[in-house]
Amino acid sequence: MDTILLLLHTGPDGGLTRAARETVAAGQQILRDMPGASLVAGVVGGQVQPAIEQLASSGASRLLAVEGPAFGPARHATDAAAAAALIRSAQATLVLAAGTSRWSRALPAAAHRCQGCIDTHATGWAMVDGSLAITRWYYRQRMEAQLRRTPRPWLILFDPGIFPPWDGAPGPAQAQRVEVDADPNLQRTRVEGVQAPAAQAQTIRPDADLLLVAGAGWTKKQADGRAHVQEAEALLLDFLAKSRASLGSSKSLVDLSGEGEAVLSFLTHLNQVGQTGSTPRHPKGLATCCHGEEPHAVGWRFIHERRAINLDPGCGWARGKADVLYVADAFAVLAAVNARLAQAAPPAPGTPG
């Protein structure tokens, strides 16, 4: 009989993060299709009681926790030790976790220590001949495979956004403590905190409904023979402030900054979408001044509705990569869009004017 362990780390407040609640939903769905299996939750964090109480109605038959100041920060050594201890303690055959940066860093080692196997970036699941199969992408989102594994425990990290987050009622609950020795060897690394990139605006918003992609065209010579980088900056920032969209970029545009050219000051490699960038998830995406070449467009795999603005009717977007291509000057279009957004709503408090 399978034992499904939901491996969860808390947020800074000791509660369940959205990613953790998605994992709970994953476990509940899979459990329904695995007669006789049981669900166990294992939580890691500095303090876990808020999370444990949130799990009261999750359907988990056991609640386990590794708790203490050493397990607050996201650190490989302590996280891997905590995760391995929870997997052993639960005697898990299947381990479900969210593909957060924290678990992605630590769980391969935990799998190894439990003589198990691991898959990351899972995007779906199915039961095939009575056994669990997952889907994931290969070659940077170019092909999708369905696969199964025989060794156990099998650790599966689901990408964020695959399951609707579970939102059950909290209640009184206690976890069984699993002791892990956080000896000094595991604490050679000290996590100082989190910092936003040295850019003027926080432009990456994973929860936004819209992804706006800026391409190198914004910095290129325009019809008047000159580049208009400052104007481009103002238009893009204005759009982001008014629409609350997330900002993506092509590689060419972020690379220009490394080569010392005039570029949009708020862009970093973190904004880059594509083969060597990110593959964000948003319901809609609008590409501007970006050619839509394959190494860029593979990063759009999880953008459902796609539109593009480009002067070139033969650009990559026209060749089946976007639903709509507007053959137009993005400077003029974005200015007109911004004017309409300004009419529609007063600026949100705290947004740069």
Partner: protein, 271 residues
């Protein structure tokens, strides 16, 4: 410590040139790419960033040395070396074995860790094991972590964009985390494992002199490459499919910016 400087071992595999179109094919020993042997290859992009960053650090700290450990078919490795060897100085450690996306990262990691262990004179007290945080083939982000695990390296960092040596010898490391932010950590010193994202260095220009110097070790390394059995034990692929790529693109050519703006606003507002 009798000598100073770091031993920087960079793990970097092969990836098909990203401009190629790829198609899966079922072979006798599991899935592969159609015409895999014919596809031009590059050094896996995030691993190349690791290599450039390694060379940059080694260039600043006297006594440091860079190795590049790479698993793949000999001919493909040689082809990849034609471009990479001119970039930065390193010594190649080649392993002959399967290197596609459908092999298991645990098996790849076992082969890489074994090769690293057999590098003569490697000093764990000065060891930095670097690579890309994810490959362009499997994209799992598992291989480097398991190499570190097999080598007993507890301090591991993934999605690294910055790695600074501080005056007291500790490292200040920036890793990518959610929401376009970086986690900042301080680690007391080697051994450390880092899976790099893009870092901050541009691709170095080709330098034929570095190429000639590297090639002296590259050819012998390719000749004496050990063979490793790398597959996907215990994995069963039910199917591999290419996604429906083509959308029926509506190309809008004769609307004014205002008309387009109206359309876009309407679209953005649709739930």
């Amino acid at each position: 410590m009798t000598s100073t400087g770091y031993n920087i071992v960079v793990c970097g595999g092969l990836a098909p040139d990203p401009l190629q179109s790829l198609e899966p094919a079922m072979g006798p020993s599991g899935p592969a790419l159609k015409n895999e042997m014919m596809l031009p290859v590059v050094l896996d992009p995030w691993a190349s960033h690791a290599l450039y960053e390694a060379a940059h650090l080694a260039g600043r700290i006297p006594g440091s040395k860079v190795w590049l450990v790479s698993l793949g078919h000999r001919g493909k490795l040689q082809q990849m070396m034609m471009t990479v060897a001119q970039k930065v100085p390193f010594e190649l450690v080649a392993i002959e074995g399967a290197a596609g996306g459908f092999t298991d990262p645990a098996e790849t990691a076992a082969a890489l860790a074994e090769a690293i262990r057999s590098i003569p004179g490697l000093d764990p007290a000065r060891l930095l094991v670097w690579g890309g945080w994810e490959s362009a083939t499997r994209g799992a982000g598992v291989t480097m972590a398991l190499v570190g695990e097999r080598l007993g390296i507890q301090d591991q960092f993934q999605g690294v964009d910055e790695f600074k040596v501080q005056p007291d010898g500790s490292f200040r490391i920036l890793e990518r985390v959610e929401g376009g932010q970086h986690q900042v950590s301080i680690c007391t010193g080697p051994p450390v494992l880092a899976g790099w994202a893009t870092g901050s260095l541009p691709e170095p220009r080709n330098n034929p002199q570095i190429g000639m110097q590297n090639m002296r070790s590259v050819m012998p390394a390719l000749q004496k490459a050990r063979t490793a059995k790398v597959g996907a034990e215990g994995v069963r692929f039910d199917r591999i499919t290419l996604p429906q790529q083509q959308r029926a693109t509506r190309v809008v050519k004769d609307l004014s910016p205002d008309q387009i703006a109206d359309e876009i606003i309407g679209w953005i507002r649709q739930p």
